[in-house]
C-alpha cells in the first residue's frame, strides 16, 4: 500500500466541531436547491416537501435514541437545547419546585442557564466530581429534595470525555420522581443511548458535533414532560420552539444520526484503535504525562493530557501543523483556565500544562502517528 501524502494542518479538535460527512452534505443539498420551501407553508407542495423532509429527519433523530418521532423538536443547536431544557423545565415547575441539580463540570451553556435561574431566585446544587470526573450517585440521591424539579448531567464530557453513569442517574431520578436532562451533544451517535432504558426525560443533541451542520440541534422531550418555550412566535414545534425551520439543516442532523447509527461500531473500533496506539506512543516516550479523567469510563475520541512542567499554549503554538486545543472552544477564545480540570483537583500549573486531543471518524493512523511524533518532540523541547 502506498502511503498517501499527509494533508496539513491535521485536525484533532473533534470536540469543538466535526467536519461534515459527505453523505450528510449530499442529503442536505436538495433542500438548499430545488426543494427550498418553508415547511410551515401549508398551501403548496414546496411547503409539503419541506415539511416531509423535516419529519423524516425527526424520525431519524428519534430512531437514534429510541424515542418517538413526536418527542423530538429541532432547535438552533445544543446551546439552545440546553437552555430550553433547563430553563423550560425549571420554569414549568416553579414555584412548587424551585431547585435544580447539575454538576460543576457541565458545559458552559448549562452552567450559564443554571446561574440565570439562580439570579431569578431558584436554588441550584452544583455537584462535585471525583478525580475521575464522575459524580457520586449516592451523593446525587441525597441532594434531591421535594423541591427539586430537574437533574441535569452531561453524558460525555466535552473537555475530558468521561462518560457518566447515565443509566444509574436515570434510575435515581425516576425513583425520586424528578426529571432527568442530559446534555448528550458529545455522546449522540458515538455511544449507544436509549432514552427509555436510561430513564431520560430530556436530552440535548447537536448537529455539528456528529458530522452534521452547524446551526441546528434537537431536543428530545419525553411525552408529557412539563416544559415552557424560551421564545414565542408562529408556534412551530408544538408551540415549544417558534421560528421557521430549515429543512436543509434538519435533514443534516437527521442524516448525521442515520449515518452514525450505521457506522457507530465501526467508528468506535477505529477511534479506540487510534486512541490506544497514540496513548501508547506518548506514554512510552514521555514519563511525566497523565490522562485526565477516568481511564475506563470514557469516550476514546477525547484525550485530555497533562504534560507536567510545560505550558500548553506554548506547545500548541509549536505544533503549527496540528489543530488541538486547551479545552472547550467556547472558553479557549477567552483564555480562561479550565474549570473542568479544576474540578478534578488539578493545580493551576497542571491545568496550564493540559491539552485536549480529539479524534474522529475522518482521522487516520498516519495523522495520529505524525501528531504523536511531533507532540513528543515538542514536549521534550519545552521540558
Amino acid at each position: 500500500m502506498t502511503k498517501s501524502t499527509l494533508k496539513l494542518p491535521i485536525y484533532l479538535d473533534y470536540q469543538a466541531t466535526t467536519p461534515i460527512d459527505g453523505r450528510v452534505l449530499e442529503a442536505m443539498m436538495p433542500y438548499l436547491t430545488n426543494d427550498f420551501g418553508n415547511p410551515h407553508s401549508v398551501e403548496h407542495s414546496f411547503g409539503w416537501k419541506a415539511e416531509a423532509a423535516v419529519e423524516k429527519a425527526r424520525k431519524q433523530v428519534a430512531g437514534m435514541i429510541n424515542a418517538e418521532q413526536n418527542e423530538i423538536i429541532f432547535t438552533s443547536g445544543a446551546t439552545e437545547s440546553n437552555n430550553l431544557a433547563i430553563k423550560g423545565v425549571a420554569f414549568a415547575h416553579y414555584p412548587a419546585r424551585n431547585h435544580i441539580i447539575t454538576v460543576k463540570t457541565e458545559h458552559e451553556c448549562v452552567l450559564a442557564s443554571a446561574r440565570a435561574l439562580e439570579k431569578m431566585g431558584f436554588d441550584v446544587t452544583y455537584m462535585d466530581v471525583g478525580p475521575d470526573g464522575l459524580i457520586d450517585t449516592g451523593e446525587l440521591e441525597a441532594a434531591i429534595t421535594t423541591k427539586t424539579s430537574l437533574v441535569s448531567v452531561m453524558t460525555v464530557n466535552n473537555e475530558i470525555g468521561v462518560i457518566q453513569n447515565i443509566k444509574a442517574i436515570g434510575a435515581i431520578c425516576r425513583k425520586k420522581n424528578v426529571l432527568f436532562h442530559t446534555d448528550a451533544a458529545q455522546a449522540v451517535g458515538k455511544i449507544p443511548l436509549d432514552v427509555v432504558a436510561m430513564n431520560i426525560d430530556v436530552m440535548s443533541i447537536s448537529g455539528h458535533k456528529i458530522y452534521g451542520p452547524k446551526g441546528v440541534g434537537a431536543l428530545y422531550v419525553k411525552k408529557g414532560t412539563p416544559i415552557i418555550p424560551l421564545f414565542d412566535g408562529g408556534g412551530q414545534e408544538n408551540g415549544l420552539r417558534s421560528g421557521t425551520l430549515s429543512p436543509a439543516l434538519c435533514t443534516g442532523v437527521g442524516a448525521a444520526c442515520e449515518v452514525a447509527s450505521v457506522d457507530m461500531d465501526k467508528d468506535m473500533k477505529h477511534i479506540s484503535n487510534l486512541s490506544d496506539r497514540f496513548l501508547n506512543n506518548i506514554k512510552t516516550a514521555l514519563n511525566s504525562v497523565s490522562l485526565n479523567g477516568s481511564a475506563t469510563e470514557r469516550y476514546p475520541g477525547n484525550i485530555n493530557l497533562t504534560f507536567q512542567g510545560i505550558k500548553a499554549d506554548l506547545l500548541i503554538a509549536d505544533l503549527k501543523d496540528i489543530a488541538i486545543s486547551t479545552g472547550s472552544a467556547c472558553s479557549s477564545a477567552k483564555h480562561k483556565p479550565s474549570y473542568v480540570l479544576k474540578a478534578l483537583g488539578l493545580s493551576k500549573p497542571e491545568i496550564d500544562a493540559s491539552v485536549r486531543i480529539g479524534i474522529g471518524r475522518m482521522t487516520t493512523q498516519q495523522e495520529m502517528d505524525y501528531a504523536a511524533e511531533h507532540i513528543i518532540r515538542c514536549v521534550r523541547n519545552l521540558s
Binding site: G37, S246, L249, C330
Partner: protein, 373 residues
C-alpha cells in the same frame, strides 16, 4: 420561476437560495472549523463570520458590532423585546405571529394599537399611547407587513417615539432586500432581519441593536457574539446570509420590474372583477407583493384551485398552524370577516419571471368567472 413544474409565488414565505449562496455555503461547510477555536481551522471560520457581519453592516448601514447573529427572525424579535429592559410594550393588531405571541407573553403592560384601513399606524393614537410611562416603553412593529407589504412611516414614528423617550424596534424581515434600508438613517434602536427572505438560507437571522442597549439572548452559553448570544455560530448559514446581503443592490434593481408586473396584474384583475380589492394599494408598500380579495371565493378554495393550476400562493403568513385561517391582518384593516377570509397573498422575488404573473392572472380570472358566471 418554474421549479419542479410549479410556479412559485410565495417569496414572502421563503425564497429559493441564490446559486452563488449555495456554492459559498457548500464551500464553507466543507471547510469546517469552530470560530471560537484559536487554531487555523477556527481562525478561518472566524474570518468567515466577521466577513459576513461586515457585509450585512454595509448593506443596511450600521456598524458591524451592532449585528448579533441569531437562529432567525423569530429569535431576533424575542431578543429585542424581552431584553431591551423596558416594562411597557406598544405594538399593533396587524403584526406577524412572532410579535403577536411576544406581546401575549410580555411581562408588563401591553398596548395594542389598531391600524387604519390602509394598515398604517395613526400618529395621534401613537402620541396618546406614549403619554404613559413613555421612558419605560418599547415600540415594536413591522416595517413592512408580511401579508400586504404596507410600509410604516418609520422615520416619523421614530421621531414621535424618541421625543417621548421610548425605544423603537422594527421587524424589517420582509422589507430587507425589497426597499433600501438604512439602519442609521431610519433612527431605530433595534431591527430584526432574516436570511431566508433575501435568497439566503433558513435558520439564520440577526438583531441589529445600538451598542448601548442591554441586549441579551435567552440562549446563554459560551459567550459568543460578545456575550450577547450563546451557541456555536451557524457559519455556513451566516456566510450565506452575508453574500445574500451583498446582493441586495441587484435585488432592489429587480424590484423595479416586479412592481411594474404587480401593478399591471392588479390593473387587469380590477378591470375583470370590479369587486376585487388589493389591500394597502393606496399607500406605500413593498413592490413584490399583492394581497388580493376575490369576492365570494374563500381563501381555502383559492389556495386549492391555484394549486391545481400548479401555482404556489398563500392565504397569509406561513407560520400559522397547518390550516388556512382568516387573516388577522386583513381583519385589522377592513374589519370585515368576509374580506379577511377570501383574501390571498401572491409574492414575487429574485427569480420570478413575467410569465409567472401571466399564469397567476389566468388562474385568478378563471376562478372568479367560475363563481360569477
Amino acid at each position: 420561476m418554474t421549479k419542479n413544474n410549479l410556479i412559485y409565488l410565495d417569496y414572502n414565505a421563503t425564497t429559493p437560495i441564490r446559486p452563488e449562496v449555495i456554492d459559498l455555503m457548500t464551500e464553507v461547510m466543507k471547510e469546517g472549523g469552530n470560530p471560537s477555536s484559536v487554531h487555523a481551522y477556527g481562525r478561518k471560520a472566524k474570518a468567515r463570520l466577521e466577513a459576513a457581519r461586515a457585509s450585512i453592516a454595509q448593506a443596511i448601514n450600521c456598524r458591524p458590532q451592532m449585528v448579533i447573529f441569531t437562529s432567525g427572525g423569530t429569535e431576533a424579535n424575542n431578543m429585542a423585546v424581552f431584553s431591551c429592559g423596558k416594562k411597557r410594550l406598544i405594538t399593533t393588531n396587524a403584526e406577524h405571529d412572532s410579535l403577536r405571541s411576544v406581546a401575549d407573553r410580555f411581562n408588563g403592560e401591553v398596548d395594542i394599537m389598531p391600524v387604519n384601513e390602509d394598515g398604517l399606524i395613526d400618529f395621534n393614537e401613537l402620541k396618546q399611547s406614549l403619554k404613559k410611562k413613555s421612558e419605560h416603553t418599547v415600540l415594536s412593529i413591522l416595517y413592512a407587513n408580511n401579508e400586504t407589504g404596507v410600509l410604516q412611516d418609520v422615520p416619523a414614528i421614530v421621531e414621535i417615539a424618541h421625543a417621548a423617550g421610548a425605544l423603537v424596534h422594527i421587524d424589517a424581515i420582509q422589507a430587507l432586500g425589497k426597499v433600501q434600508i438604512d439602519f442609521m438613517g431610519l433612527g431605530v434602536d433595534m431591527m430584526s432581519i432574516s436570511a431566508h427572505k433575501i435568497g439566503g438560507p433558513q435558520g439564520v437571522g440577526a438583531l441589529i441593536a445600538r451598542e448601548n442597549l442591554p441586549i441579551k439572548s435567552v440562549i446563554l452559553g459560551g459567550g459568543q457574539e460578545v456575550g450577547r448570544r450563546g451557541g456555536t455560530e451557524n457559519i455556513a448559514g451566516i456566510a450565506g446570509f452575508g453574500l445574500a446581503a451583498s446582493m441586495i443592490p441587484a435585488s432592489l434593481e429587480k424590484m423595479k420590474s416586479l412592481a411594474a408586473w404587480r401593478d399591471e396584474m392588479e390593473e387587469k384583475l380590477s378591470r375583470h372583477a370590479p369587486g376585487a380589492r388589493f389591500l394597502g394599494k393606496n399607500v406605500s408598500r413593498l413592490p413584490n407583493v399583492s394581497s388580493i380579495y376575490m369576492p365570494d371565493v374563500s381563501s381555502e378554495t383559492q389556495v386549492m384551485n391555484f394549486d391545481l393550476d400548479k401555482i404556489c400562493i398563500s392565504a397569509g403568513s406561513a407560520c400559522s398552524s397547518g390550516k388556512v385561517k382568516a387573516s388577522h391582518v386583513c381583519l385589522a384593516m377592513t374589519g370585515d370577516e368576509k374580506i379577511a377570509s377570501s383574501t390571498i397573498r401572491m409574492s414575487l422575488g429574485w427569480n420570478s419571471e413575467y410569465s409567472d404573473v401571466g399564469a397567476f392572472i389566468a388562474s385568478w380570472k378563471k376562478q372568479y368567472d367560475k363563481k360569477h358566471a
